[in-house]
Structure formats: structure tokens, C-alpha cells
Symmetry: C2
Subunit: 226 residues, 2 copies
DNA sequence: GCCGGGGTGGCACGTTGCTGCCAGCCCGCG
DNA sequence: CGCGGGCTGGCAGCAACGTGCCACCCCGGC
């Protein structure tokens, strides 16, 4: 049972063609605009061009409005400039979240009807694949939505001192594991073969690195970082 | 630029056809078999039939072996029977993780070359869409891999008393928020308008519900549950 | 050798978190 | 009305956590 609707899978080259061929599609979002990317680079040129063309949809958080959901990775929080842009996006009514898992390929799903996947660069122009085959769109949407669900709200990530997780050493990981196992300090220190005093020093250093003021918060933040 | 390779997107009806038409494909996995589903129901009949046909690949955890990665949701931990089956899968060399986000549609990606997405049931037979278009496969793989990355190892979820998160009340959420904000008990109790004693009672109840023995662990578990 | 720096462990003390006990309060029930 | 049950808050005592201080190493430089 081959699928062949000529328009089921279409590959476009470059943002210009994306805007020309799929601009109407993108601007026609009515219920949900779900978008995932590692940072702000990929879609910015293409889709901003579409929306700035005087057809930016009104974002209403209400039940019948368009839900604009964007997931990025921590790389989108890299520099203050990107952070500001993200904050601006969020202020404009979009829901922005930060995923701690990598999103290697950018993806958009519009109203559960159309998916757009970015390919790699080829001859200077990025390719975009527009999919309208329902099963594929639904599959992509469910996966992208899972990433959305698993991600943190931008607001919870902005002030975090550990926006860039500091790549902990081997010992820190062991301490973290002991903490996460629910051991008391005494038991943990014995297991790790260090004195109670030193163990507590390690914990204090970890908490400082995470920016936590209580152990509960440290647990939450440690999981956010992985 | 239409895509047409006749085999780029093929939809199959029912597990029998899946095995007949895509069995070789599934059994030919060499480097990575990445699979996501809400529970053990969907793929079991189809892919088990393929593998039990004497072509189960050898799972080697080494660098050149086949990495069999499976992500399920907490629903796969529903009953002890499913738990045992999951443990058996893990024991056979597959890496099994539990995602706290919903995976509405089942998906497989094989060696980064082929994706198979499950559709909804139609006339008693579930449909399976086999995709070999590289951009689409890569997009699906990156999303599925993100779900894999964000998920917890099965071992960390098996003993958890809160495998089924108990749908906390409004007040419990407020307590959790106060804890996650890093407040001291005193400050949190003031903010929530209750006495220190009562606040600590709430915290103790929460920790019991989560099965945590330390606040750090409670923080970790609370985030695992959402 | 001596010296200084960095990491460690012991000790003491203060803070925070945990819980058993009891008194009070509100409610529904007989 | 009395009575019991459930929830609350205060108190006390204990366990756990956090940290400043100091003595003790181990090392590398002078």
C-alpha cells in the first residue's frame, strides 16, 4: 500500500523556498504551533519572515486560541543575548520550555496536520521537509510533545546559576548518587570512604554549584541538570 | 521537489503484513534499535514474531554491537506482570528506560535508516508506516532519542513505591513548590499560612508518599513524577 | 632543612529538620 | 448534651545537617 499523495512529503531547499511554498501553511496555524529546536538559529529567519509578513497570528492563551509551544535545549540559553530573545518570545504569548535532552533536528508541527522537519545544510541552503501524511505527522507530534512535556518552563531556567551544567567530576557524581539514594550523611561517608566532615564539604560544594539553598532544591536541580 | 522514491513512505495493515513486508528490515538492525511506546502491548506481537523467527540479533553492549534501546511510559509498569516482562527484556541485553512524558504513538528507528510509526487501529488491524526518507527518519530519530535521553533507567523505577504518581492535591503542590524554591520550613510555613508543625506534617506525608528517606531524595523523586 | 598552600579529619556549636506527646478546635453522630 | 474522630498548633527532645576553627598531613618551591 504505497502512499503517494503527491504532496505527502515535499522537500524544500532554503528558507526562501520554505517561505514561498509553506508560508501560508505556517501562518495558517489555528490551534497549536509546536516547535522544537536546539537553539534560536534555525527557524528564526524562515518563520520570522513568515510571521512578520503581517500575518502573525494572535496568541490567546484561552482554550480556543493558538497555543504556541516552543522547546529549545540549554544551548538556547547560551549567552545573554539569546536569553533576552527567548524572554521576548515568551513575553509575546508563546509558551517556551527548555529541554535537557538534545534536539538534534528541528521540527514543527502545525495543528497536528502538518510537520516540517529541517534537514542538514546542502550547498549552503538548509532543506526543509514538509509532511502531511497523517500517521507520520501524528508520530512526530507525539514525540515532539513528549519532549515538550519533559522540558522545564523557561521561567524556571532563567535565573538558574547552573544554566550551563558544570560537568561534574567523578567524585561529585558519587556524592550525588549517595544523596539520591536517600542515605544519611554518615552512611554515605562510610560508603564513599571519606570522613563525615569531608562528605559534608562535598555536599556543600555541590549545593553551591547548583545554587541550591536546601537539599530538596538541590535534588530538584540536580535532576534538572541530569 | 516532490519525493517519490516509491518506497519512501509505505503503510502496512496489521502485524502480519508488518512481519511479512518489514520483517527483514527489523531483523537486519546492526547498530541501533530505538523503540518508544506507551506500554508493552503494541509492538509485542509484531516484532516478537520477527525476532522469534530464529533471527534475534545478538545484543552486545560493546561499541560495535547492536544497541537495543526501549523507552516506555509509566503505564508499562502498571502491573507486576508487565514489570516482570520489562525486567526480562532488560535482562536480555536491551536498555530499557521509563519516560515520564506520554508517548502517544509508538515508533521504531532502526540504524538511523528506517523509521516505523504505528497508526491507530482501523478495521481491527493496526497500521504501520515504514519510512525510509532520510530527513524524516533523522527527525524522528532525534525526537525519539530526546525522549530516550530524558527517560530514567528502568532499574531506578522498579522499586519506586510511587511508580504510579498519586495525583497530589492542591496543597501538596504548594508544599512541593515551597520545597523546590529552597525556602526554610519556617519561611514556607509562613508563606502558606500554616504553622511550622503542620507544614512539617505535610512534608513528612509527601515524603512518605514518594517513598523518600531524605529531602534530597524527595526532590529527585518529586521531579521524576513531575 | 624551612616555608606555604591545599586538602583532610576531628571537634564543637549553631541551625534546621523530624516526631512524639498533649491540648485545643471543629464536626458529625447518637 | 456528651462523645469520639480528625485535624491543628505548641512544646520538647532528638536526629540530622551546616560550618568555623584548628591540627595534621603531603608536596613542591626555595
Amino acid at each position: 500500500m504505497e502512499h503517494g499523495g503527491a504532496a505527502a512529503v515535499v522537500t524544500l531547499r532554503g528558507e526562501a523556498e520554505l517561505v514561498r511554498r509553506a508560508g501560508d501553511l505556517i501562518a495558517s496555524a489555528r490551534t497549536e504551533y509546536l516547535c522544537g529546536a536546539t537553539d534560536l538559529v534555525t527557524w528564526s529567519a524562515g518563520t520570522n519572515a513568515v510571521f512578520n509578513d503581517g500575518r502573525r497570528p494572535r496568541l490567546r492563551p484561552g482554550p480556543d486560541g493558538l497555543a504556541m509551544r516552543k522547546v529549545y535545549t540549554r544551548q538556547a540559553l547560551g549567552d545573554p543575548e539569546s536569553e533576552r530573545r527567548l524572554a521576548r518570545i515568551a513575553a509575546s504569548g508563546a509558551q517556551v520550555r527548555i529541554s535537557s535532552a538534545p534536539l538534534a533536528r528541528e521540527a514543527i508541527v502545525i495543528d497536528g496536520r502538518v510537520a516540517i522537519l529541517a534537514g542538514s545544510e546542502a550547498r549552503g541552503a538548509r532543506t526543509y521537509t514538509v509532511i502531511s501524511e497523517p500517521v507520520v505527522v501524528e508520530g512526530v507530534r507525539s514525540l515532539l510533545y513528549a519532549a515538550w512535556e519533559a522540558a522545564d518552563d523557561l521561567a524556571d531556567c532563567l535565573g538558574a546559576p547552573a544554566a550551563r551544567p558544570p560537568v561534574l567530576g567523578e567524585e561529585s557524581r558519587a556524592v550525588l548518587a549517595a544523596l539520591a539514594a536517600g542515605l544519611t550523611d554518615e552512611a554515605a561517608a562510610r560508603r564513599l570512604g571519606m570522613s563525615l566532615r569531608t562528605y559534608r564539604r562535598r555536599v556543600a560544594a555541590l549545593m553551591a554549584e547548583l545554587g541550591a539553598t536546601s537539599r530538596f532544591q538541590a535534588g530538584v536541580l540536580s535532576r534538572r541538570a541530569g
